[in-house]
């Protein structure tokens, strides 16, 4: 299959060898699980259990709420200890409403929905409902509720389901291991999703540095002529759906549009496997594969982790830390979120936990920008990071917005190459935050404006009505007076 060139990007030191040969091992149940109500993009889920309830494995704990949301289920059986604020796995360190579950050790399954006998006979609607009920969100990092993505076929004419096995982030090997060990499950999940989406073609894109995964997936797909497994160049951020789509179809997704406009829907391999579990066994999303790696970890591993496990428990399972880390990262080193501490839970979007040493992070004091242009050359979005950052430094956020800072998807390539070690992405994240805030404020002001206008017109109408009433009353009075006077007059005449 022809692979189209993709602009920009970098070739970081991958360090996947730390964990790539470590088979997925299950994580023993920890003493307590912490399940935040929001592990996805969209509205937080609504808890359906309360402190003290006993739950079974797979039982619904919190229900999706609103148009974009996802449910959460109990990863094991046990007692709800509390529903309270717990530090979120997020750089802000802000607390978040979280269900705490004390496992009873029995790991007893709740009654699961019947598996679909033949998913390919089921309607798209039915599959989507199952996927939604299973609380599946995109496991590639964006954590967008998958059921909604599976509905894209209703508005667009879709051709291709692209299974994203690029795993371009350094260190991470969870997708690689999933493809090697569970290729058949991934392929089956992909076929089910393709059926739901109505796409004829499935393409699995895998970076060429994962030959075993390619082999396993090709093997698993060999029975299905509509599935092709293709190698894509090793070039970060090949895993970004727009770039992967471009590499495979040659088409460029218009700004502010979805790849679906081009007839392509992208799903992660982990998502496909979760769909397989949900449809074939009725199992909700209860655990995910997490790569634990980094120079500060005693032994890197790929672990099948029950959601809600504390990162500290996870690290302890890997033999603890052998030296104090410089950064603890949720996700890959390029796009992951730094964590405030180890005392935060693993959530659906946690693809990796990295404890990185100072050497690996290679942080240095920022020097003045020497305008080398590297950031411009490598930006896969065709932006000008150097100028955007200069504007943001001088608080000219509108200027940065004009240069397209909102198009930046924070891939980190620019910061990575900058010889002056300028935290470019940090500048952009700050600007995006401020601009979003301004947008929210603007919307609020508009709302306030209409409210105020409504009130003014209401008051005016009231005043008018009052005046009219008063006038009418006066007229009436006058008329009455006249009426009463007239007889007098008459009388006096």
């Amino acid at each position: 299959m022809k692979i189209f060139p993709v602009r920009g990007g970098i070739h970081p030191d991958y360090r996947k060898e730390l964990t790539s040969e470590k088979a997925i091992v299950p994580m023993p149940l920890p003493r307590k699980l912490y399940l935040p109500l929001q592990q996805h993009i969209g509205a937080p889920a609504e808890p359906v259990v309360k402190s003290g309830d006993m739950v079974k494995k797979g039982q619904l704990l919190a229900r999706a709420q609103g148009a974009v949301s996802a449910s959460t289920h109990a990863p094991t059986s046990g007692r709800i200890a509390d529903v309270a604020m717990v530090t979120a796995p997020h750089p802000s360190g802000l607390p978040q409403l979280t269900i705490m579950l004390e496992p009873d050790g029995k790991d007893e399954w709740a009654e699961l929905p019947q598996p679909l006998a033949d998913p390919f006979a089921a309607s798209s609607q039915e599959i989507r409902e199952r996927v939604a009920a299973a609380g599946i969100v995109g496991l590639g990092g964006a954590t967008f509720p998958s059921a909604i993505k599976l509905n894209l076929g209703s508005q667009n004419k879709l051709e291709t389901l692209l299974i994203n096995g690029a795993e371009c982030e350094p260190y991470l090997t969870c997708d690689d291991r999933v493809m090697r060990e569970y290729a058949a499950e991934v392929i089956d999940g992909a076929r089910i999703m393709a059926h739901a989406l109505g796409t004829a073609k499935i393409v699995v894109g895998i970076e060429e540095n994962k030959p075993q995964a390619m082999a396993a997936m090709s093997q698993a797909a060999s029975a299905f002529p509509n599935i092709s497994v293709v190698g894509v160049p090793v070039q970060y951020p090949m895993g970004s759906e727009r770039h992967l789509t471009q590499a495979i179809t040659g088409l460029e997704t218009p700004a502010k549009k979805l790849t679906a406009e081009l007839g392509v829907v992208v799903h992660n391999v982990g998502t496909a496997r979760a769909v397989h579990h949900a449809i074939r066994f009725g199992r909700p999303l209860l655990s995910r594969v997490v790569t634990v790696s980094g120079g500060a970890v005693t032994e890197g591993k790929n672990i099948d982790v029950p959601l809600g496990t504390m990162v500290s428990d996870l690290v302890a399972f890997c033999g603890g830390l052998k030296e104090p880390p410089r950064r603890i990262v949720n996700g890959g080193p390029m796009m992951g979120q730094p964590l405030p501490s180890l005392e935060v839970p693993v959530v659906k979007g946690t693809s990796g936990i990295l404890a990185l040493t100072a050497d690996e992070v290679n942080e240095r004091d920022t020097q003045p920008c020497i305008r080398c242009g590297s950031c411009v050359t490598i930006c896969p979005c065709g932006l000008v990071p150097v100028e955007m950052a200069a504007f943001i430094r001088k608080d000219n956020l509108d200027g940065a917005a004009k240069l397209g800072v909102m198009d930046c998807f924070s891939c980190g390539s620019c910061s990575y190459v900058c010889p002056s070690h300028i935290p470019l992405v940090h500048f952009f994240n700050y600007a995006k935050g401020r601009l979003n805030e301004a947008e929210r404020d603007k919307r609020k002001l508009e709302r306030i404006k209409t409210l105020a206008e409504t009130r003014t017109t209401r008051l005016e109408q009231q005043a008018q009505a009052k005046k009219a009433a008063a006038a009418a009353a006066a007229a009436a009075r006058k008329a009455a007076a006249a009426a009463s006077e007239n007889p007098d007059n008459k009388a006096s005449v």
Binding site: P423, H426, F427, N429, A452
Partner: protein, 178 residues
């Protein structure tokens, strides 16, 4: 000499006429700036700026008689926009936002006097006379007018908390400043 003076006078008179005519036909009605400024103001007509509503505030701004930081509901963002529009360099660091606020009615104290509801420029209150009132948070823009009129001090102005979704990174380097 006569020629010199004559031609100069003729020229002056002609140019004067041309300019006079031009000034008649090219006269600009109203002040377009005022409308532009008005568009930038929140339009809450709350009167916190000391003017009777945003229209007058805009007029005062256009005349240069009001500082760009006049509008508390607009906050720093509006002040920035105004100063940009007017080309005024305002010291906005002074104008530190207290952060957005909202009014919260302590139900045990509210006597249902309706004063707050009458004062509120955005009809953010629900409740009928002699009944406990509550504030619709999304409709409240934190002007605190209700807070000032409440006879029982039942209204509390609270800072709008930052949620995970609204949190954003600080500007790089701003930690060193603290």
């Amino acid at each position: 000499m006569l020629l010199a003076v004559g031609s100069l006078v003729a020229m002056g008179a002609t140019l004067g006429t041309v300019l006079g005519i031009a000034s008649r036909y090219l006269a600009v009605e109203g002040n377009p700036l005022e409308a532009e400024l008005l568009a930038l103001l929140p339009g809450a007509q709350c009167g916190q700026c000391g003017f009777v509503g945003c229209g007058q505030a805009a007029a005062a701004l256009a005349r240069g008689e009001a500082p760009v930081t006049l509008c508390p509901p607009g906050g720093k963002a509006v002040a920035e926009k105004l100063s940009k529009k007017l080309g005024v360099k305002a010291d906005l660091s002074e104008h530190e936002d207290k952060g957005p606020q909202y009014a919260f009615v302590q139900e045990d104290l509210c006597i249902g006097c309706l004063r707050c509801a009458n004062e509120c420029s955005t009809d953010a209150f629900i409740g009928a006379p002699k009944q406990v009132h509550t504030v619709i948070r999304e409709n409240c823009h934190g002007c605190a007018k209700c807070f000032k009129v409440c006879p029982t001090e039942a209204i509390k102005m609270c800072a709008v908390p930052v949620t995970l979704g609204e949190w954003h990174w600080e500007k790089p380097g701003s930690h060193e400043l603290h």
